[in-house]
Amino acid sequence: MNIIVCAKQVVDVSEMKVDPNTKKPILQGVPQKISDIDKNAIEEAIKIKDKHGGKITVVTVGSSDAKEGIKELLAMGADEGVLISSPDKCDYRVVSSLLAEAIKKIGEYDIVLCGEASIDMFSGQVGPRLAGLLNMPQITYAQNVNAEKDKTVAVRNMGDKSVTTESSYPVLITVTKEINEPRLPSLMQILGAANKPINEWSADSLTKDLEPKVETLELKGIPMERKNIVYKDDVDDSVKKLVDSLAKEGVLR
């Protein structure tokens, strides 16, 4: 079973700070990491490989910093990495086209796995968009995947419904955070990953057509004006003060 996992290097949003004056996020100096749910995708790929054998290739569109992130995924159990240099101007169209071209270049694949969304942008666009580009069936929001020899059956979490879907190969699957617990690689695995290949492909070696269709004009801050009144002394006193405040706000009626 040949599996391709698309992974994204993102800023660690939990480490992100907001400029107190402009309320805009400060992106500089924020640590980077592989998006959490993409690790669930790798974990699921490893489980499928354990069952059926085969090869796992990780594909990332990003800067050269992303190599460290790919190494971590190789340590977890992926066999080979592909890092595509990210063009200066990038939208979902550009990233998806690059991933699609890279997947075509890799050639042999039964399953393409993605996280349901990246933790920085949380669109969930890349998976189904890629499936559209490659014209293959898509199984999104999978919270359970049972890959058999000639077909896969997955349970999808659609919020108010749980939908069980079956597909032949090739198929694109996006997974949720709840599908598994990504493993932590051992020291031996981390050392071993140094010998696994990471191929670097330039964007324009894959396609010449790299015009974004959507342009980000601006990143605005979100004003969050709150009173921030915190009572922290005696519990009875605090509770009384809180109830008085809520009564004054007119929400106790």
């Binding site: 800023v11 559209g132 014209n135 929001y141 597909s167 959507v214 605090s238 809520l246 929400v251």
Partner: protein, 318 residues
């Protein structure tokens, strides 16, 4: 032309409001799409809520598959020459819009909370970085595909005098290799956090499932009766069903009063409740992030505070 589609009727009605506004500004009309069985009553309802035209794409497809729906919308787009496509942002809608964008090699923005024309180009806003910022995005070529979550816009008032055409057309669609084996309704109560005026929410600070009754008791006396929760309670521990889950990947709420108990205040959770009028936080950790997003807070043990708070609210409200 502006095209509107959702497999959810209410979402379609909400989208029609924004759709007709954009269409007017462009001097075009707005068309609602129905996929599946012909439904004249639904078509008329769309017309009375602003649709200038309803396009019924008749098919024998019985269950939703993004592959096949995208195939149909691709043909409807070709037929109508639509420039802007608004899709309701439930999970089906996001899957469909993204796949359609891939098929058409078009620009696509998911979960837009604001849309307008700037320099005659469709410009949209969406929340990014777990609710820490708003990205302003502009389309530079057509068609433009966007998805819009529920409750961002209100439906237009019903106007039975508004007229529109109903067009029906049969479509053959390339069938997907995937097959829906089973659809199961998730276990849900009568909870609707998105419409609640008062919500009391619980998080990881609770030690056991039984303790959640402390939250329901407070919700009860506040006459809100609605219990919410953060991701771990619904997704990991499954102490409450997912219709209680408030956050970026759960429900987005805007009640008059939101009480967060034992919730640390991860930005993913804040993203789901930041539009609440008054936010109250109860947490034992004085450094908890939740206090930064709260109007009022109490630092302390929720097991001590909640029963006292419930009693005092009861007294106050008589």
């Amino acid at each position: 032309m502006v095209l509107v589609f959702s497999d959810n009727k209410n979402l379609s009605l909400e989208l029609l409001n924004k759709g007709s506004e954009l269409a007017k500004e462009l001097g075009k009309n707005v068309t609602a799409v129905i996929v599946g069985k012909s439904d004249d009553a639904l078509a008329k309802e769309y017309i009375s809520h602003g649709a200038d035209k309803v396009f019924i794409a008749e098919t024998d497809i019985d269950s939703f598959k993004a592959e096949e729906y995208a195939g149909i919308l691709e043909k409807v787009l070709k037929e109508t020459g639509a420039e802007i496509v608004l899709v309701g942002s439930n999970k089906n809608g996001k899957d469909l819009a993204s796949r359609l964008a891939g098929r058409l090699d078009a620009g696509c923005v998911i979960d837009c909370t604001n849309l307008y024309l700037k320099d005659k180009k469709l410009t949209v806003e969406r929340v990014v970085y777990s609710g820490n910022a708003i990205a302003v995005e502009q389309f530079n070529s057509k068609p433009n595909i966007v998805t819009i979550p529920s409750k961002v816009f209100d439906p237009l008032a019903k106007d039975d005098k508004h007229t529109g055409d109903i067009v029906k057309k049969k479509f053959d669609v390339e069938k997907s290799a995937s097959k829906v084996l089973k659809v199961q309704e998730m276990q849900t109560g009568d909870v609707n956090v998105e419409d609640a005026e008062i919500i009391v929410s619980c998080g990881r600070g609770f030690k056991s499932k039984d303790d959640i009754k402390l939250v329901s008791e407070l919700a009860e006396v506040l006459k809100g009766k609605t219990v919410g929760c953060s991701r771990p309670i619904a997704a990991d521990l499954k102490w409450l069903s997912e219709d209680h889950w408030i956050g970026l990947s759960g429900h987005k709420v805007k009640p008059k009063l939101y009480v967060a108990v034992g919730i640390s205040g991860q930005i993913q959770h804040i993203a789901g409740m930041r539009d609440s009028s008054i936010i109250v936080a109860i947490n034992k950790d004085p450094e908890a992030l939740i206090f930064k997003s709260a109007d009022y807070g109490i630092v302390g043990d929720l097991y001590e505070i909640l029963p006292k708070l419930t009693n005092m609210v009861k007294e106050k409200m008589g």
